[in-house]
Every structure is written in structure tokens, then in C-alpha cells.
């Protein structure tokens, strides 16, 4: 995939457009206060960025063998060459990500205009400013040629996430969720920055191309590499919501649904996967870490899938689903099949965004997130067709893209002989189909709730965006199908794998149909059979509680202790000194009686003292 490189100038244009939009909206207050103007600026910039990103990819030229796809400028000077550089790295991966980010951002911004129509004008301007900033940050992240620049944009993306999750900042739940997201990802980022610095200390450079060259020629010191790469992986753990730092993603659903579609489905959370992919030549040096990544990824996928089965909130289900799919992508990278994971990232980005936006439609119609309060939309296919298509893609049904990419991941994991992760991923595939169709049946086709007679009005912009994304998904799927039929399987994957994954998906769909549409199997009885699992899953396996206890207990306790020290020891010391000074001053003041005779006493005593001193000296 990195055999083609794009023009650095066009890449800079892609970066500059959302940044210019953000600057304009941030600095020019009247522009921001008028929601129409803000949306226009932002969306126009985004459209131009989409065009530029596609141009970038279309006009990419093949790369000579040892030529770097980066173009950098010196940033932090040092003896013997700059210590850090800034620039752009325009290879296949970053071009693909550019297209994904700009396109999905544009779709989401268009959708938001209709979805958030009832927001106050000023808030909407703020919203679009944040969107522009996010687009810029994400593009900077994927175009970064060095670890340092990637880290800077990494943090910026985290900031945008915080700003957008907490968009409705007067809601306590939203504010808490934003802070939680920030804290948890920050935990991962600690490892990330430590890893980057240690890598720099070992290798002397931040630049990816340089590092890859060193790794390739075995010039990198392998001694501390496992630790370094593990620390760098920690950043991905936080950002891509791997176990145990996955707890922030479900809570992040407090933000507006379009934000969830953009950030917590397609782009920001995939930054971790992108990081592992980008630094893959370095990860290849430490196969143990890769195995760990695969195991954690598979485990995360399974864990999240089980929690999604018991959720009633449609957005939460989708959030867990995202965590689960991110686990898939990480497992692929861990199984040394990064291209499969990357492909899944791209396809998942589109249909997951579509799922969220489709969910936004039903939320808009029913004014609730609870799937058990929805239903009866069978008679309006233009509402449910995109969503169902996306669900089929997620479940892994051909000819939709999810089938191909998921099967590629399963194949990669199988080939790497990671059996238990393979089993976990297989079970997850079954569960994914199950819980997604559970949602479909409950939210769209459930009977008895204001049935098909009611005609619900949905803004055409919202459904239009959904149909566009659905069409894109289908087109991608068809393209992949054609490639597969033409070029055949990639070697090594077992022949029974496509049928196997299809079978898993089918089984899940059938089970969901039986339980929720037909009513043949009672969900309550199933829950009773799986009681302990059900109980644990409903309580999110207590991980949230652990973090909360750590935060409240350890962190706040520590803060309280420090506060006590500050108030009573540091301040106390100062207060004691000042009290003593005041008291001493008070006492000394009484020397000034105002009577000259008393002063004369002083003079005489002083003279006596001098006598004594002089006597001593004379001796």
C-alpha cells in the first residue's frame, strides 16, 4: 500500500482548509454567532478538502524504492540537524485515511445541520468550529511524518473529543463523560509519550521513515524495544478503547449523535489502529508485543459484544459495537495482517458512521434512545433500508464490505495460529450479528407501538446523507467482491473460512429474528439460563466501578492529602511565622512608653554594654 506517494502541496492544502475554517470561526465572532454562516464556512471547507483528498489519491505517483514519502521542514533546531521536524507523509495509508476523514466529516456536518436544527444559533456556530478543528487535527494525525507531530495532533484530537462530547456542557452527564474520556485516554497517552521519548533516546530520531530504515537495517537497539513498543501501544489502547481503557467510549455517547458517528466510529477511535499500522515495521521487531495486541484485541471484541447484547440504549449498543470492531482491527494487526485490519478500518468507518446516523433518525423520530420504545417503521423503507444495509455490512453478509474485511481478519488470525483469539473473534462475529439485528428488529420492525399508520417526518438532509453512505458501502462491497472473484483468495487462509464466517452471521441473524421478531424464544428465559453472564454484562463487568473507585479513592484522596498539607503545613508555617512576628511586634511596641526617662534607661544600658565590651577588649 505504500508504494505510491501523493503530492505534499496538495496534502498541505487538505490540511489547511479545515484549519482555515476553524481559524475563521474561532476569531471572527459574528461569523460564529450566525449558525448559517458558520455551517457554510465549515461545510465549504470540507467539500474543498474532500475534493483535494480525492485529487491527492487520484494523482498519486509511484514511489521509487528507497524514496521517502515524507516532506518535512525543520522545527526544533539542534546540533547536527534538527531535533524535530514538521511536515506531511503522503503514502497510501495516509491518503486513504484522508479520504475517509474528509468524506465522513462532510457527511456528518451536513447531517448535523438538520439534526441539530433546534439548537441555539450561537451554540451551533461553536459546534461547527469544533468540527473544523477536529477535521484539521485528525488529518494532521494521519499525515504526520514523525512520532512527535503525530503525538501533538493526537492530543489535539483528544481535546476535540472532549469539546464535542461535552458540547451540551450544561448537562452534568455530558460534562462528566467528556472528562472521563479525557482522563482515560490520557492514561494511555502517558504511555505513548514515554514510549516516544524512549524511542528517541534509543534511536535519535522521531521520523517514521528514518526509524523504518533503521529497523530494516537492524540498526535499532533491540534491548529496550519491547517496553518501548508496549508503551507506544498503550496510547492506542486508550484512544482505540481496548480493554481495560474501553470504559470511556460508551459514556461518550452523551455527545450529539453526529459527533458519535464521526469521532467514535469512523475517525478518532481509529487513530490507535492507525498508529499501530503506521508503526508496524517497528512492531515487527517485537513479535511478543504483537501477540499481546492480538489477544487484547480479541478479548476486547468479545467483551464488548457481550455487553452490547444487554443494552437498551441504541447508541450504547453501537458504541460497544465500535469497541468490538476496534478489537477486530487490533487483533488483525497483532496477527501480523495489518492490511486486513486497515481495510476493515476503512469499510467499518463508512458503515459505522451510517449506523450512527441512521440511529440518529430513529432517535429524532421517537425522541428517545431506548430501543424498546421504538418500532413500527416497517412501512417506511426509506428510513430503514440504509440502516439495515449497514447492519448487514457489520454482521458480515456479502456482497457488503464487512464480509470481506472481517473474513480477511479472521483468516489472518487463523494463519498466525492464534487459536484462542480466533475462537473469540468467531464468537464475537456471531454475537455481532445477533445484537445488531436485535436492534434492527426492536427499533424498526417491532409491532404494537404506534404502528405503520403513523407517518413520521424525517428531514430529507438526514435521510439523504444516510442513503449516500449506504450507496458508498454497497459500492465498496461490490468492488471488493469483484476483486476477490478476480484475484482469488490470498494464500494460506483456509478454504472453509468464508462459509464459516457467513454461517456465523446467519446464525446470529436467525437467533435475533427468533427471539425478537417472531417471539419464538423468550429473551427472559435465555437471560435466566445465562444468568451470571447476564448479570455481569449488565454491570459492565465492574470495570467502570474500578476506575471510579481509583479516581475517587486514590486520586481524590491524594488530592485531599496534598490540600491538607498545603493548608496546614505550608500555609500553617507561614501563618505561624506571621503570628509570631505580629506578637513580637506587639510586645516590642510596649517598649515605646513615650516617657523619655525610660528611653534614657535604654541609653544607659547601652552605655553599660559598651563599657563591658571595652573591658573585654582591653583584657
Amino acid at each position: 500500500m505504500s508504494m505510491r506517494a501523493g503530492s505534499a502541496t496538495v496534502a498541505l492544502v487538505v490540511l489547511a482548509l479545515p484549519f482555515a475554517s476553524f481559524l475563521l470561526l474561532a476569531l471572527v465572532r459574528p461569523l460564529r454567532r450566525s449558525a448559517v454562516a458558520a455551517a457554510t464556512v465549515s461545510i465549504t471547507a470540507m467539500v474543498a478538502a474532500v475534493v483535494a483528498a480525492f485529487w491527492l489519491s487520484w494523482r498519486a505517483t509511484p514511489l521509487a524504492l528507497l524514496q521517502s514519502p515524507s516532506r518535512t521542514w525543520s522545527w526544533i533546531p539542534a546540533d547536527g540537524g534538527p531535533m524535530a521536524t514538521v511536515g506531511v507523509m503522503v503514502d497510501g495509508k495516509s491518503m486513504a485515511m484522508c479520504m475517509l476523514v474528509t468524506f465522513v466529516s462532510l457527511m456528518v456536518q451536513l447531517y448535523s445541520w438538520a439534526y441539530l436544527h433546534d439548537e441555539p444559533r450561537r451554540s451551533l456556530g461553536r459546534y461547527y468550529a469544533y468540527h473544523s478543528l477536529f477535521a484539521f487535527s485528525m488529518l494532521g494525525l494521519v499525515l504526520a511524518p514523525t512520532f512527535l507531530q503525530m503525538f501533538v495532533f493526537w492530543e489535539l484530537v483528544g481535546l476535540c473529543s472532549y469539546l464535542l462530547i461535552g458540547y451540551w456542557y450544561d448537562r452534568p452527564a455530558a460534562a462528566r463523560a467528556a472528562v472521563k474520556a479525557f482522563w482515560i485516554t490520557k492514561l494511555g497517552d502517558l504511555g505513548f509519550v514515554a514510549g516516544i521519548v524512549m524511542l528517541w533516546a534509543a534511536a535519535g530520531t522521531f521520523d517514521f521513515w528514518e526509524l523504518f530504515r533503521l529497523a530494516h537495517t537492524n540498526a535499532l537497539p533491540v534491548a529496550g524495544m519491547p517496553l518501548i513498543m508496549f508503551l507506544i501501544y498503550l496510547g492506542a489502547v486508550g484512544k482505540s478503547a481496548q480493554f481495560p481503557l474501553h470504559v470511556w467510549l460508551p459514556d461518550a455517547m452523551e455527545g450529539p449523535t453526529p459527533v458519535s458517528a464521526l469521532i467514535h466510529a469512523a475517525t478518532m477511535v481509529t487513530a490507535g489502529v492507525f498508529l499501530v499500522n503506521r508503526a508496524f515495521p517497528l512492531f515487527l521487531l517485537v513479535p511478543d508485543v504483537l501477540t499481546l495486541i492480538a489477544w487484547v484485541g480479541a478479548f476486547t471484541a468479545l467483551l464488548a459484544a457481550t455487553m452490547a447484547c444487554v443494552e437498551n440504549d441504541i447508541k450504547r449498543v453501537l458504541a460497544y459495537s465500535t469497541v468490538s470492531q476496534l478489537g477486530y482491527m487490533m487483533a488483525a494487526a497483532g496477527a501480523q495482517a495489518p492490511d486486513a485490519g486497515f481495510a476493515h478500518l476503512l469499510t467499518h468507518g463508512v458503515f459505522k458512521a451510517l449506523l450512527f446516523l441512521g440511529a440518529g433518525i430513529v432517535i429524532h423520530v421517537f425522541h428517545t434512545n431506548d430501543v424498546f420504545r421504538m418500532g413500527g417503521l416497517r412501512g417506511q423503507p426509506w428510513l430503514w433500508v440504509p440502516f439495515v444495509l449497514a447492519t448487514l455490512a457489520l454482521a458480515g453478509v456479502p456482497p457488503l464490505p464487512g464480509f470481506f474485511t472481517k473474513e480477511a481478519i479472521l483468516g489472518g488470525v487463523f494463519e498466525a495460529h492464534l487459536m484462542i483469539p480466533f475462537v473469540m473473534l468467531a464468537v464475537t462475529a456471531f454475537l455481532t450479528a445477533f445484537y445488531m439485528f436485535r436492534v434492527v428488529f426492536l427499533a424498526f420492525f417491532a409491532r404494537g407501538l404506534g404502528d405503520s399508520h403513523a407517518h413520521h417526518h424525517v428531514p430529507p438532509l438526514m435521510s439523504g446523507v444516510c442513503w449516500t453512505l449506504a450507496a458508498l458501502s454497497v459500492a465498496t462491497g461490490v468492488n471488493l467482491a469483484r476483486q476477490m472473484l478476480a484475484g482469488g483468495h490470498h494464500e494460506g487462509a483456509p478454504a472453509w473460512l468464508p462459509a464459516f464466517s457467513l454461517g456465523l452471521a446467519g446464525a446470529g441473524i436467525v437467533l435475533a429474528w427468533a427471539m425478537y421478531q417472531r417471539g419464538a424464544i423468550d429473551p427472559a428465559r435465555v437471560a435466566a439460563v445465562l444468568a451470571p453472564l447476564d448479570w455481569a454484562a449488565r454491570r459492565r463487568y465492574g470495570i467502570d466501578a474500578v476506575f471510579a473507585a481509583l479516581y475517587r479513592g486514590a486520586l481524590l484522596g491524594f488530592s485531599r492529602a496534598v490540600g491538607w498539607v498545603d493548608r496546614y503545613v505550608v500555609d500553617g508555617l507561614l501563618n505561624v511565622f506571621s503570628a509570631w512576628t505580629l506578637r513580637a511586634g506587639d510586645r516590642l511596641r510596649r517598649l515605646q512608653t513615650g516617657l523619655p526617662q525610660d528611653y534614657l534607661y535604654g541609653v544607659a544600658l547601652g552605655a553599660l554594654l559598651l563599657f563591658v565590651l571595652a573591658q573585654w577588649r582591653m583584657k
Binding site: L591, L595, P596, Q597, L600, Y601, A604
Partner: protein
Amino acid sequence: MPLGAYLTLAALVFAIGLFGVLTRRNAVGILLGIELMLNAVNINLVAFARFSGDLGGILFTLFTIAITVAEVAVGLAIVIVIFRVRRTVEADHLDLLRG
């Protein structure tokens, strides 16, 4: 008489004058004590002048006497003004400089 005798005499008178300054309550009484102290100093000066053959001591004494007279005059004028304002010359009551 040796020089020491005169100096001791002067020291005694000085100490007595100091005692008077420290213990008198009346402002004029304090001034009297000061006079005694100045006298003792004069005795010292003249004794040193005599025993060392240096005329400077005597001249200094002259000046001291003249200055003392001026000081007494002004000091008593102040005492009288204080008396006019505060109706008392008791040193214990004149504590406006109190801190």
C-alpha cells in the same frame, strides 16, 4: 591629689546626676539632674586639661558651659509651653510619643 581622685569625684557626681534624671517625676527636676551630669563632665575636662598641660580642655569647658546655659533656657521655655498646653509638668503624663 592625683588625677584619679578628680576623675572619681566627677564619676560620682555623674552617677548621682543620672540617678536624678531617671527617677524624678517633675520635668524641671530632670533638668536639674542633667545639670549635675554636665557639671561632672566639666570637672573631668578641666582635670584632664590640668594634668596633661593641654589648654583645650579648659576651652572646651567654656564652650560647654555656654551651650548648657542656652540649652537650659530653651528647655525651660519648652517646659513652660508644655505646661500651658497640658496643664502638667509631670514626666509621667507627657507620653505623647507612646507607641
